[in-house]
């Protein structure tokens, strides 16, 4: 057998709806690199003839056939739409794991705060904590109940899951940061390790809460990804490459990023105000 290309062709082995415009799917990789997966890392998923986009695995499990990787996709445009409509058996190109994930003591207490397309990244940390004997709390927020993923099966995980919805259709009414604030007020023990991924306005609020209370928080950022290997500069925020130096950054690094919460860049590198 010769050398295989950097992208592995995998197939969708399972797939289901998680909510309105959100679906989850599993693929199986034979590449050993997935054995080293750290929660918070990401993959590049190549949808042939359409695009190649970054997605964070929500979990990676060892199976007889290889590494079973769970993805959750929120439809926001063409690539995510086509991906969501794929049937079982559809081929995809997979590259990864890429970037740097969360650095956590998984036997300790992990609190995940997720919103929108950030939910899978945060969930992957809780899966690992659960497997390694740690304790986990998952705070998930969305506009409305139909946009909350994982409701049907996340109970099996054995972690404490709490929801917030902007319209109050499930869990606490309001933003997920309100849910977090409530938790901080009532039950903060001091040894929590927080991981957060979601819309940047939400992460800005969490940054401010972390500063006020001296919390230990790691942030997973999203920027426009092209090469995914740290050479093209498309994903850079204030000198930090999201694809290589991140996507996960500790609070101390977030504080050095003048562009955090303010500026992102489009595919041309043009600045866009958030």
């Amino acid at each position: 057998m010769g050398r295989w290309p950097d992208r592995e062709v995998v197939r969708v082995v399972d797939k289901w709806e998680e909510g309105r415009d959100i679906s989850s799917m599993k693929v199986v990789s034979e590449r050993e690199a997935w054995g080293e997966f750290t929660p918070g890392q990401f993959a590049l998923l190549w949808i042939p003839k359409v695009d190649e986009i970054p997605l964070s695995p929500a979990d990676v499990k060892e199976r007889e056939q290889g590494w079973e990787i769970l993805f959750t996709v929120k439809v926001v445009g063409e690539a995510t739409k086509v991906l969501s409509d794929l049937g079982i058996g559809a081929p995809l190109g997979l590259k990864g794991p890429l970037g740097r994930g969360y650095e956590l003591d998984y036997r300790g207490k992990v609190v995940g705060v997720g919103g929108g397309s950030g939910a899978p990244s945060v969930l992957s940390a809780l899966f690992k904590a659960e497997r390694e004997g740690g304790r986990g709390v998952l705070l998930l927020g969305a506009k409305t109940v139909e946009e909350l993923p994982y409701r049907d099966w996340v109970g099996e995980l054995g972690v404490d899951v709490r929801y917030s919805t902007d319209d109050g259709t499930l869990g606490k009414k309001g933003f997920v940061t309100a849910l977090l604030e409530e938790m901080l007020e009532k039950e903060l023990e001091g040894d929590e390790q927080f991981v957060v991924c979601g819309p940047e306005v939400m992460m800005v609020a969490v940054r401010d809460m972390a500063l006020k209370r001296g919390l230990n928080v790691q942030f997973s950022l999203e920027r426009y990804i092209k090469c995914g290997i740290g050479i093209c500069d498309a994903c850079t925020i204030s000198g930090y490459r999201v694809c290589r130096d991140g996507p996960v950054f500790p609070l101390s690094t977030i504080l050095k990023m003048e562009e955090f919460g303010k500026v992102k860049r489009g595919p041309s590198g043009k600045r866009e105000l958030l």
Partner: protein, 321 residues
Amino acid sequence: MIEDVSLEVEVGGVRLSHPVLLASGVLNETAHSMIRVVDVGGAAGVVTKSISLDEKMGHRNPTVVELPTGLLNSMGVPNPGMEEYSKEVLMFKERLPQTPIILSLYGESVEEFEKLARAAKELPVEAVEVNLSCPNREEGGLTFGTRPEMVYNAVRAVRRGFPRGVWVKLTAQVGDVVEVAKEAQRAGADALVAINTLKGMAIDPLLAMPVLANKTGGYSGPGIKPVALRVVWELSSSEEIYIPVVGVGGIETGIDAVEFMMAGASAVEVGSAVRSRGIEVFRAIMDEIRMFLIENGYSSVKEIIGLALDVEKAMSREEVI
């Protein structure tokens, strides 16, 4: 014993503290990254991303393939356009006023090159690098770089508009690179840069289709080094070319850089090696050049420029015998 050697060089109107520069297209879309490449990475200066008059989105993903011997990319010159990118140049110079920045220009017509040159004149850049060799776009790029008369016209236009260093980046994909280089020189170029990526492609055997969305892309990294070295050697050994040459293509170590300089390069640019050796690659290469010079009894990097051009002379060195 601590000896020191001089690493300073001068190329096409630009003075450099050592010969290792950042190549166009790698970590130069943002000022912050270019500053990091200098501050943390140790580069003597930076070439910017190729900039066009108007914003370009670039090609769709997949745009990069990692190969055992380098990279294949079809970025397609994504850039925010000259006006918007000026902000990055100004931010770089504000932080690093002493560090040379060479603005890479990408035009699709002679008029565009002239406008780009005039805009560049107003910016604090030491030189411009005229990209006549990108394999990733239909217009401009290779279409220019493979036709001597078009090279002359484009470089002439830039020369008219820009009063400082004019560097011209060439492709290796021509029958006679010296013919093309002569036209650039005749039009007023101050230096030649060789080479850009080589047009190539990758096929996925299971999907039976090209991997790059653009189908073809530019090949860079260690696999193209022998070709780049040959082009630098041909340009430097030609008696008709008297302007300096900057070598680029597959440079990963100080020894690679030494080989390019012995083939006639006055300085080198490094791109793909940022993937294999990290952002610190520039300082690493500089240190390795210095070590080589010390170990082999040279006192200045200038001494090795073009040493391999005259084989008789090289063989007569006592160290070799």
